[in-house]
């Protein structure tokens, strides 16, 4: 830990730390987007963890703060694992299949940042969920 010698240096340090707290600061905001990665045995076996880490990395690189990434269990689409669901408030959730690391990053840059869906890998839902 070295001494802070100027006010500008303090502000610089704060800027570098911003990332660390953004998760907490944006948690209450209404426009928070949730990305869920299916991480049951089948998902993990087909590389869901790498996909999730890629998504997290991309989010950090692009300084996107209002997105939370969480894991979820088996969605039943074992043949198209890894499965990633994107939930944007007030919009129907979108389910993607066979998401590898590169596609994970694309979800961030296209869907999250530009609102363009990745049409090719959308999985149509074959079930209803009870509320």
């Amino acid at each position: 830990m070295s001494k802070i010698k100027t006010f500008a240096e303090l502000q610089e340090i704060r800027k570098n730390l911003e990332n660390r707290m953004s998760l907490r600061k944006t948690a209450g905001s209404k426009d928070r987007i949730v990305i869920r990665v299916g991480m049951a045995t089948c998902g993990i076996a087909s590389g869901a963890r790498q996909t999730m880490m890629a998504i997290l990395d991309e989010l950090q690189k692009e300084h996107i703060e209002n997105v939370s990434v969480s894991q979820t269990g088996c969605l039943g689409f074992c043949d198209v694992e890894p499965v990633v669901e994107v939930i944007i408030p007030d919009k129907p959730s979108i389910l993607y299949g066979k998401v590898d690391e590169a596609l994970g990053r694309e979800i961030v840059t296209k869907h999250i940042m530009n609102g363009t869906l990745l049409e090719d890998i959308i999985v149509s839902r074959s079930f209803e969920t009870i509320k």
Binding site: F7, L10, M21, L23, Q71
Partner: protein, 597 residues
């Protein structure tokens, strides 16, 4: 640095430590590393969330889920269910009694809805033992701003504009205090942080120091710059070990970063802080007694003037502010005095932290804008009275304050309104009393406290409070006459008028305010020899309710003096002349056949 996707914030205040939150933290960390998630999920120990009633609290970010009463054994389930599978753990969510509905998010809770957090903004949000977390929430920005772009006079002017008043209870304008200290010329001046929190039931200052120690250090340095002091003392009672520990860590980190010490941020300004431990005497919260204690002398108040601003620690000009007062300073500097002035009421701007205690559902720590009504604090934020009982009064200001009865519950809580009804803001302890509390007994309790804590310097306080206590004891024992009530009032007035310091001048307040609002209860004790709340033992009698008694002999066997007569399947009888009123029969009866009156 690991890129954490989730933060688990666990309350590490003293209240939650007592319910094993430190064990919980270790357990969470252990399970996480077992599952290989330690680089994905961060466990953070924070300060008090305020919702002490339901601790330990775990808050999950970014999901904003708020778990209550989490036990170490719950760790595995939280991690397997919530973190790995993304399902909320229903059984640990908070159920709002008024809605009978499980609330997932903290913001949904009425407890938090009416609160506005300025002084507590970081409590329960950052790790108090990590200076980086403080810096990332604008920490030390105000100090930097002051040192690089403001003059000491401009700082004082900003504080004066804000209208901030001392949060320790007196309500003296902070800006003026700083100005007086600045105007005294001397080669050395001191800043003192008064953390000698002594009111029974109060824990605001402790929670700030435990949850956000850097905010106090930063504010002290700002004050030092404004008044021209290079040294600060934090006077804290030794019975706050966790707060002392976190303060010490914070001071060391700040020194390592060069935010305390010589030539702070290259501006040539020197400031350092020393922690001074007090032995826990109530009178040492009074500033002149506190200064005596810092100097190593007996904690006794002195006459004012000279005020500490002219002659304080070691005879040098000294500015003494309370912990919560300091906790407001950085926000005022960052956002401006005008911003602060808009919060709260005209004459009492800002917010106030209160410690809710007593017969209230949500015991804990709250911060509300000044002017919020007592009704909102007790019934909305506090969740009302325990077990559906009747509200009787709320005691504010500790031993120096008074009781607010139901008829005054819509009073806005600010310095002047509370004084106008014979109570005071005090440091912020609120003790809620219900129908089972006897007001004479409450007054007696506070008098006992004052007798113990009076330093003994002035006769009215030393002897007078003892006499008050004796009269109150007579009343609770049914040995008093109506004349005794007049004696109480007369003696109280004398003590108020003739004591030297705030302790003595306010000591009779609990007696006077209970007499003014609950005279009926006093009269019931002296005239009817009856305690309406059923508290004063000497005035109670236990009798058998014949309709309910089935003759089980349980009470007869429990009675230590054999004053209950009866036989199996016969209605029992208590021989009043032999009864010692121990209540054993009342406690053991399962048929509500013993009446206490």
């Amino acid at each position: 640095m690991p890129n954490y996707r989730m933060h688990l914030l666990v309350c590490g205040g003293t209240g939650c430590h007592a319910t094993k939150s430190n064990v919980l933290i270790n357990e969470l960390k252990r399970v996480l590393s077992e599952k290989g998630l330690e680089d994905e999920i961060q466990v953070v120990e924070t300060g008090c969330f305020g919702f002490c009633e339901k601790g330990p609290i775990v808050k999950v970010y970014p999901d904003n889920v708020f778990y209550i009463e989490v036990q170490p054994d719950d760790s595995l389930e939280i991690i397997e269910e919530h973190i790995i599978k993304g399902r909320k753990l229903e059984r640990l969510l908070f159920v709002e009694p008024s809605l009978n509905q499980k609330l997932e998010e903290q913001l949904d809770m009425p407890f938090y809805k009416k609160q506005l957090r300025v002084a507590l903004k970081n409590c329960g949000f950052i790790d108090p033992e990590d200076i980086d977390e403080y810096i990332s929430t604008e920490g030390y920005h105000a100090l930097g701003k002051v040192l690089t772009s403001m003059t000491p006079d401009a700082v004082i002017e900003e504080i004066k504009i804000s209208g901030l008043r001392g949060r320790g209870g007196g309500g003296f304008p902070t800006g003026l205090k700083w100005e007086f200290t600045k105007k005294s010329s001397a080669d050395q001046k001191y800043i003192v942080c008064n953390a000698d929190e002594g009111d029974p039931g109060a824990f605001m200052d402790r929670s700030i120091l435990e949850g956000d120690p850097h905010i106090v250090l930063e504010a002290m340095a700002i004050a030092g710059f404004a008044v021209g002091a290079s040294k600060g003392y934090i006077y804290i009672r030794a019975e706050y070990p966790l707060a002392i520990q976190r303060l010490s860590i914070a001071i060391e980190q700040a020194r390592n970063y060069g935010l305390l010490g010589n030539d702070i941020m290259g501006t040539g300004f020197d400031f350092d802080v020393e922690v001074d431990l007090g032995a826990g005497a109530f009178v040492c919260g009074e500033e002149t007694a506190l200064i005596k204690s810092i100097e190593g002398n007996r904690g006794e108040p002195l006459t004012k003037p000279p005020f500490p601003a002219q002659s304080g620690v070691w005879g040098k000009p000294t500015c003494v502010n309370n912990v919560e007062t300091f906790a407001n300073i950085p926000a005022i500097i960052n956002k401006g005095g005008h911003w602060f002035k808009k919060i709260g009421t005209e004459k009492s701007p800002g917010t106030k932290v209160f410690a809710l205690a007593g017969k209230i559902n949500n015991v804990g720590l709250v911060e509300v804008p000044m002017g919020t009504t007592m009704r909102d604090i007790v019934f909305d934020i506090g969740g009302g009275i325990r077990h559906g009982k009747q509200f009787k009064a709320v005691q504010t200001g500790g031993p120096s304050g008074g009781c607010i009865p139901y008829s005054q519950i819509d009073i806005p809580v600010d310095y002047d309104s509370l004084v106008s009804i014979g109570s005071m803001m005090g440091s912020g302890g609120l003790i809620v009393l219900d129908e089972d509390d006897c007001m004479v007994n409450i007054a007696k309790f506070y008098m006992e406290f004052i007798i113990d804590e009076s330093c003994g310097k002035c006769t009215p306080c030393r002897v007078g409070t003892k006499r008050l206590h004796e009269i109150l004891t007579k009343i609770t024992e049914g040995k008093a006459t109506e004349e005794c009530i007049n004696h109480l009032v007369e003696l109280s007035d004398t003590i108020k008028d003739t004591s030297l310091c705030g302790l003595g001048q306010t000591a009779p307040n609990p007696v006077l305010s209970t007499i003014s609002y609950f005279l009926d209860e006093y009269k019931a004790h002296v005239i009817d020899k009856h305690c309406p709340a059923g508290v004063c033992e000497a005035l109670l009698s236990y009798t058998v309710v014949s309709e309910n008694c089935i003759g089980c002999t349980a009470c007869l066997r429990a009675c230590p003096v054999n004053c209950i007569k009866g036989a199996p399947k016969e209605i029992h009888k208590i021989v009043q002349s032999d009864c010692i009123k121990c209540g054993a029969c009342y406690d053991i009866c399962r048929f509500e056949a013993i009446m206490k009156k």
